[in-house]
Amino acid sequence: MTDVTLPFVPPLEAAGESYLDEGHTILSWLTSTDHKRIAILYALSITVFFFIGGVAIGLVRLELISPTGLFLTSDEYNRLFTIHGIIMVWFFLVPSIPATMGNFILPMMIGAPDVAFPRLNLMSWYLYVGGAAFTVYVLFSGGVDTGWTFYPPFSSDYSHSNVIAAAAGVFIVGFSSIATGVNFLATIHMLRCPGMTWFRLPLFAWAMYVVSMVMVLATPVLAMSLLLISAQRYFGLPIFDPNAGGDPLLFQHLFWFYSHPAVYIMILPAMGVVSEVFACFARRRVFGYTFMVYAMIMIGVVGFMVWGHHMFVAGQSPLANLVFSFLSFIVAVPSAIKVFNWTGTLFRAHIGFEAPMIYALGFLGLFTIGGLTGLFLASVPIDIATTDSYFVVAHFHTIMVGGSVSAFMAGIHYWWPKVTGKLYNEFWAQFAAITMFLGFNVTFLPQFVMGWLGMPRRYHYYPDVFQIWHVLSSGGAVILAVAYLMPLVYLTWSLLYGEQAGDNPWHATGLEWQTPSPPPKTNFLRPPRIDTNPYEYHDFGRAEETGDEGRAEPQGEAS
């Protein structure tokens, strides 16, 4: 019987060194197989790329203030929005939560000393860096202008830009994803501590499991689709060339077979983070844990069967449109279940409005809106009208920025004390969170409106009637930019001057909190074991307010 069988038991003083003290040279960081250090390597890399992708779209939004442009040629404009998409999808969002928080927290959460294959973990970061190197080369050599979707025949035959280098970068970083997925799946299957049965896993761990399954099964198809257009472009092999009997739509089938599950790769980890944050800051177990688990699994599986909803107007048969539309409606159901369950978790809870909770609440509302607009798009008639308009752009940004990025920020702030051993300034974090929420809405609500009114996406010049909406949206983007820069300032300040956090500043449940902050290299001071369900924040059936004053009797007045 160890100390970690009960929640909230103050752990012993850290006897061992923290993982941060195991070597101070850059080489010790670059050759470390410690999952915690690798997580930080990833965090630094994706932050750099987040800002590069942000600058790219900042320039685009600036340009769109005028219907006839300000300082970019149309060619430059195309290259900017393309690199924004490529970087944000593959070099920020896909790795974001899994490679940072998954790497750092997952092994600790399940009571393991590290991931199953630590050297493979380090290699996955180097694969990221390798892919990133190609992307940086593309940036400096003029960019790529095909859109992040690389559709042929433009990408394979007509584009005068660095298609193959860009495709190579994405191909390589895809293997980073696959390596991470393999590692997490093996870790969760084989390295759970004694007592950690499948249905005692926290929902973040389940989210990592399902997202790993999706990464492993979807990413190789992207790799093949990019390889095929590169082969057509470089060797002239007519894979998608209509002159030889090829079909450009085949590329779209293969590309979206990955890219639709990719959006679930981007949202499932966010769902996992948000479940943890809601439970902790509402002091409640997550409502309907089992349904939450099965909902994530269903999203992960059914998410592979809906890709054709990106191709409703591309030339698919009407039957294919019908089938994909129907399946897309089905896949919305588990997401809705999750939204209801998060709401149920919050209902009559003891809610604290620390920064992680503000981000999580923002996630809840924006994911709901983004998800609903996704349902509109799943309806074929509506999609035919709104395809390739700003309605689609607003939809996916609401989910990915309003949803995933909010959850990423929630997780960063929630686990910051554990990772760094320091507290961040709560006021500035809350201020940044609210600013981000406001900035997001000012940026993207106008995009829903103008999309509905007919403004096409990816257009450099546009009719005057849309200008007001573009100006509003660009103004919002400025607010968003400020909100994203603020954490850089106060989090850096926290690293340098922040208060010591202590082992469990949030009084959270979960194994990762039952160990010092920052953790020792082996994660735990003694072998952990579990014999409770997750999220034991309060006794079932008894309101927290009654405390120790005897049994809670149903009374007329609220207690």
Partner: protein, 210 residues
């Protein structure tokens, strides 16, 4: 037992679990590789179902002798690889080394054969482009898939051979004991590369023979 100390790696608590873990990890990676090739086969299947005649014409020109020899070479290499794994588990070091070497040699023989075959194909200008000799146009699609499928398979095989040679060297120099967990992963991967060929062969070599 001190022999095995070199084989156990962090964070595994014991060697048996580590072996099981490596096996599981390699199978999961294989699932991703199945999807990688499946995308290719799906494209092939789509085009063949709409261009059956052209594919028949195109398929007659693949080098069936080279292809068949290669199939037997790979099947035999899977045999030697299986025995290598079994020998390693039974701690028969010499037999493990012998079988690993044989596997690599058979793999190299495959590549040599493939190289000769590619030379023949190029002599007949069977590469889609201006000098392509066949018609209708969809024959170029078949041959596009031929080069990509066999090329990517060859890349995977080369990777496999490299790994086998590295592992052979590590065992030979007693850097790690044969009964560690590495053989599991290597064997599973090798068999996968063989399995891919077993699908490639009928799709590329047995088309249009009758």
């Amino acid at each position: 037992m001190s022999d095995l100390a070199g084989a156990l790696r962090e964070p595994w608590p014991d060697l048996q679990l580590q072996r099981a873990g490596v096996g599981l990890g390699m199978w999961i990676f294989l699932a991703s590789e199945v999807l990688f090739f499946a995308a290719l086969f799906c494209g092939y299947a789509v085009y063949r179902s709409f261009n059956a005649g052209a594919f028949r014409i195109a398929g007659e020109h693949t080098e069936i002798v080279y292809g068949s020899i290669n199939t037997v070479l790979l099947l035999t290499s899977s045999l030697t690889m299986t025995v290598a794994l079994r020998a390693a588990t039974a701690q028969l070091r010499k037999l493990t080394l012998y079988c690993l070497a044989a596997t690599a040699a058979l793999g190299v023989a495959f590549l040599v054969c493939k190289g000769l075959e590619y030379h023949e194909d190029l002599k007949e200008h069977l590469f889609p482009g201006p000098h392509f000799p066949l018609s209708p146009p969809a024959t170029q699609i078949f041959w596009g898939f031929y080069w990509i499928m066999t090329g990517i398979h060859a890349v995977h095989l080369t990777g496999g051979i490299a790994v086998v040679l590295v592992v052979f060297t590590l065992f030979k120099r007693r850097v790690i004991p044969v009964q560690g967990s590495i053989m599991e992963g290597v064997a599973i991967y090798w068999h996968f590369v063989d399995s891919v060929w077993l699908v490639l062969y009928p799709l590329l070599y047995l088309v249009g023979r009758s």
